[in-house]
Subunit: 220 residues, 8 copies
């Protein structure tokens, strides 16, 4: 473990769990994010490290200071170092344009952790025809990540269409009695479709890590 | 208003709002339910009065003491007196067998308040083909009552299929973090389908009264 | 569906549900709102499209960039294109000056979706004489939208005066244990007046869509 | 303080706060209730002592064992010893038959603590004409206790009709999202009528004590 | 009722409930507050009108534009017109310096509504000696307003010392699991001292109105 | 779909999602459970069907009426028909004896849906040595189901030891502020170990279905 | 660890943390409680083992089957084997008779874990004179356990009187908006007296273990 | 007590409870903090006084205006005057870098109140090897303060390793369904490790005061 003053960096972690190193950017200054990314990258030059939940300012400074980094503005995240060869496929499904950011974070997390991604957007429950049109792509995946805010109904509908393992991600999209995503979270926990699991509100990263592990094993 | 000792009966109400008299049976003894039904019927011999939320025991005693009453065991309700001629149509839609009781209460309430009923059961979001098969019946209705427990996703899906006014009824079906229907209630309040309104948990009666009013006006 | 880069616009929706296209403006830049409005208007030149929840800045930019648009500053909304001929009447009832914005959003939504509006303001439960003075207008409507914050009592009182279908809209007006409108929402869900349905907190738009559908059918 | 083994009885309390001794009967056996009542009565033979929240069984045993006690079956309470001369008047107002028990507990508590009572029942917000008919009696009182369940709207309406000090009592009447009286409690705390105070759910006793103190002072 | 464009002013209210006119300043511009105060004052030149919850900016502008107004910076409120002759006494009791603003709002509200005030500050439950030292002043009052944040224990302790009617005001002072005053509110609703009533969080105004009514009646 | 009067049985489901048919026994009579099991078994004679959440009485009657059924008293579940050949391995991990029933339901669900099971009990966070002793078995699994009540810490600790996909199941074990499993649910949703997903409280069945799907794909 | 079929008994625990073995009796049959007590006692014949949360039936059967056990009916607990020599003193303070059971469980837990006990009952915040009368006993203790339900104010008041370490125990005593002890728990967490720590609702055992550890160290 | 206009300073408090004077800086201006510190220091020149929860601005101004003060930027706190000789040892344990500030506040509070500190950081439950490596330091302490956010699991794991009295501090670190530390708070209250007590969210100060009292007594 190295000590940067403001954070000890756990460079052992990849060996222990087989996963990439990730910097949770919320509450960190752009300078801190860049310093941690550099340290992690120096230790793992052969595999991507990632930083998530970056502010506009942090995204801009990383782009300037680490020109070799890859910036994903929708996901509000960056990666540094080569992405692993994808094994298996995770279909990342979302409904509204306001869920795009969480879906993009999930998709990038899948890639960084070694899974392949099929991104399927704009397939909400209020427009079933769009969803039915992608049923083959859902069936072809090794794991599904389904992102939805408001009433959080999409995982139940998708879970009724296919038997592929499904991770649901509630988002904080909504207002009034959505309580920052709590309504969607409760709906997903109570899904009538068997075999739906759930992660925390807006936690695209966690869903991506989990789904990549499932897809890698299925796709080996 | 007549005074029965344990309850003053508001025989004026029908004149004031145009609706039938209804006895909320929870917490009342079978004897009290029967006495109130008799009083209301004597005042309105030409139109049905209704009692809801009856226990097994109350349903049995009413069947014995008021043989002219019509007992609906699924709805746990009885009516006394002739049902009005139906005007307009309310489609009452439900998903699971455990939502049947609330759906039946809603359907009977529609009939007692002068609407016609098309009852559509077993059309949950995890089996879209059943739902799509009844789309014509949904479109043909003047108002929809959609009953669902657990994640409460059905109103959003139905609301995406049709522009008919839709009243959602969350039920207390579920366990764990369903919190007695609260998860379904929140989901319905946050429906992404515009034009969905909601009533209290298990309140089939309230949904039925509302929907009958809408259907009567549309069907006149 | 057209793709504007930041949003796919569902120009099919009107055909599917019979309703207008609406842009939810919260979280969108003024430029995005204007671009979407233009796209929708080009597709439906003969009927109004609407944008809601606009910031002061967005309202001003729309007024400048789309001079043919109609700006409703109280409702924080704009319409573009000719409003449909009104069919039926929705009475939109509110209590305090702080509920005006939600009431105005409801009223405009009714108009855009083809209903007529009778706007009745300043009729709170703490001043019954004002409410009793408008009882005839309430009775003359095909549907009521009742907007109230704080204790949310107005729908119960109005619902006791008339049998017209009533949609209640809780507002986030209040402080302390009002919990951003939750107290009003719970009160309305528990209304002792039968036939009251409820939409999400501050959801004037949803109430307006629903009420317009009811009024159009009743008034045809 | 005397020690009965299962409870030390605070016979000093009346002197300290000027109020009667009261036994909270919930969770106590009939025998314990009777023993405490006897001890309190022996210490204060000249003024009533009271026991509240008694089970059917406790009410029956008190009637048998303490024939000189006065049993109020509706309030589920008993008194022993002469009631004080009433000073001032408390109007106890309630809506439904299901609120009767709490209203009766409040009324009896007022009497035991020295106030006079005017009991006004069946005046709910969904039937304003009954309420307006008693406006004179409301104005004539020195303090109001307003009891309501479900949406808890009655105190706001009464508080708009008169400037008499008003104590609101939410009751646990309701179902679904009433949460055992919480909806009514929140509504009352958020009343738009100024000068409304609130006690705990079903706490007729507390409201009665408070109102008696106000009425005694006003009526002296 | 006069119409100022942004608000209809209810100049009838004083006649109806015997109370002063009050402007709730939160969410209003300084200019609006000043305009409403002027209108109310013109109608009631012989009695004070009040504005509460004013921003720093509004307090300053009122001081400039209405030099005859009396500004209470601690209470964040102003009055315009002569205060009524005080009848009876309300003791306003608070614990910490952070509760001062709510206590001051309560005290001013009492004065505007015709009661006299005895302000007792810095008497928290963690320093009982200060509280016991003012017991005589508590007993001498006709009504108590007890203001407390955090654990909200002060009303229970004061209510055990005296039989004077007591209105408790929870404040939003606290952090962590105080939930903006909810912890204090719940504590006060569950007070073991009989005869404690409660108003909404930070609602010094409501407590003051109520207490003034009680004190005026007791002191006449 | 066949209609048994009290339930339509969806015999199509296995074909659609590849999974077994399951009867949720809560709220059903023993006779209903037996009838549904017989119908499902007749349709799928070659693969096990399952009934969960059975009462003591239902378990006993099934044992008598369906002697060919296999009864799992700890899981409160029965299976009828041959279990599929296990593919892959799910390690089902639990802490206390009070979590045994949920763990057993998860384990049986895995088996019925085609996965193999390694059951690891009594490895709570307050006794780390037991947990460290099974680290090899954790690593050898294709998916983990970790069951825990009270503070729900076990998934975080296990998730820190291994990179195997992990599904956490909160149980309703606990008292006081555990709120029927809500404390454990929230803890699991907030796990600091990446790649933890969560199902509803006590939902061993859902976790088992999901984990079996993951293990089958990894083990093929 | 020994395996009794229904529970593995952790006979190692005392060695690991220096504390006694305790059986949580809720949900266990009397026979199971007795069997576990016997096993634990056989392993630790020289120090007391304890069982808590026993039903009336379990208390009776233990008294019969294990005559050498010591039964504490108020604490609903039993001990088997010699209590350790007390070191240091824990003052266990409670208010009402309804808190007695939790206070007794705390006191017995202190004794079993090696602390001495000074039990101080009936000292509620509504009767300060009783509390002030025991101030010397509070000061003489090495640790305080303060048990209170309803508004949970007692720890704040005691914490203001003394600097002795104080553990607060909320109890589920109360009704209405006490929410099974939640109101008291929140109050205690927000205590204005510094140095107050809190355990779960009704958790006299946990408070006792903690306080015994503190007292033993202080008293050595 | 001295009166500074904006606050009365309780210079008596140290004598009463044996503890230092502390200024809660949140909501106070830098000037107010400095004035109160000066007053307290003048009264207690021989022992440190402390100010907590200081803004960046207040920390800077104190550094300038009171150069003799000691500024702890991580703890966002300052002390003025000599720290007491440490007696006993409190181990302050935390997991993530985001818990550092609360841990530092706890550590400084321990020192100011007379205890010694052993600060142990970066020992989260997802990396057990780091925690096991410090087991000796945990055992050597007289009291533990364990700080954790997110799922709040660390106190349970530490409490299983040692019998030293343990105070848990939940922090507001987390997002989504962590609800500002509520998830961690509930987890800690439900800890399966006996003898864990809890303070309010982020309340490092309160934990430090308590732990110092325990350590001082154990270490004398």
């Amino acid at each position: 473990m190295e000590d940067l003053g403001f954070a000890r960096v756990d460079v052992d972690r990849a060996r222990r769990t087989g996963d990439a190193e990730v910097v949770y950017g919320a509450g960190k200054t752009p300078g801190q994010v860049i310093a941690i990314l550099r340290t992690l990258h120096a230790t793992h030059p052969d595999r991507a490290v990632m930083a998530t939940r970056l502010s506009e300012e942090a995204l801009a400074q990383v782009a300037t200071s680490l020109p070799e980094a890859s910036v994903d503005a929708v996901a509000r995240a960056v990666t540094l170092g080569p992405l692993p060869e994808p094994r298996g496929t995770v279909a990342v499904v979302s409904a509204g344009t306001s869920d795009q950011s969480v879906a993009a974070e999930a998709a990038l997390s899948v890639r960084v952790h070694g899974g392949g991604v099929d991104l399927i957007e704009d397939v909400g429950v209020a427009g079933l025809h769009r969803l039915l049109a992608v049923q083959d792509r859902l069936e072809a995946a090794d794991c599904l990540v389904v992102v939805a805010g408001m009433e959080g109904a999409l995982p139940s509908v998708v879970g009724g269409l296919t038997g592929v393992p499904l991770v649901a991600v509630p988002t904080s999209v909504g207002y009034g009695a959505s309580f920052g995503g709590l309504a969607a979270l409760l709906a997903m926990l109570n899904s009538c479709a068997p075999g739906v699991t759930v992660v925390n509100i807006d936690n695209g990263y966690g869903a991506g890590v989990f789904a990549a592990r499932v897809a890698r094993a299925a796709g080996r």
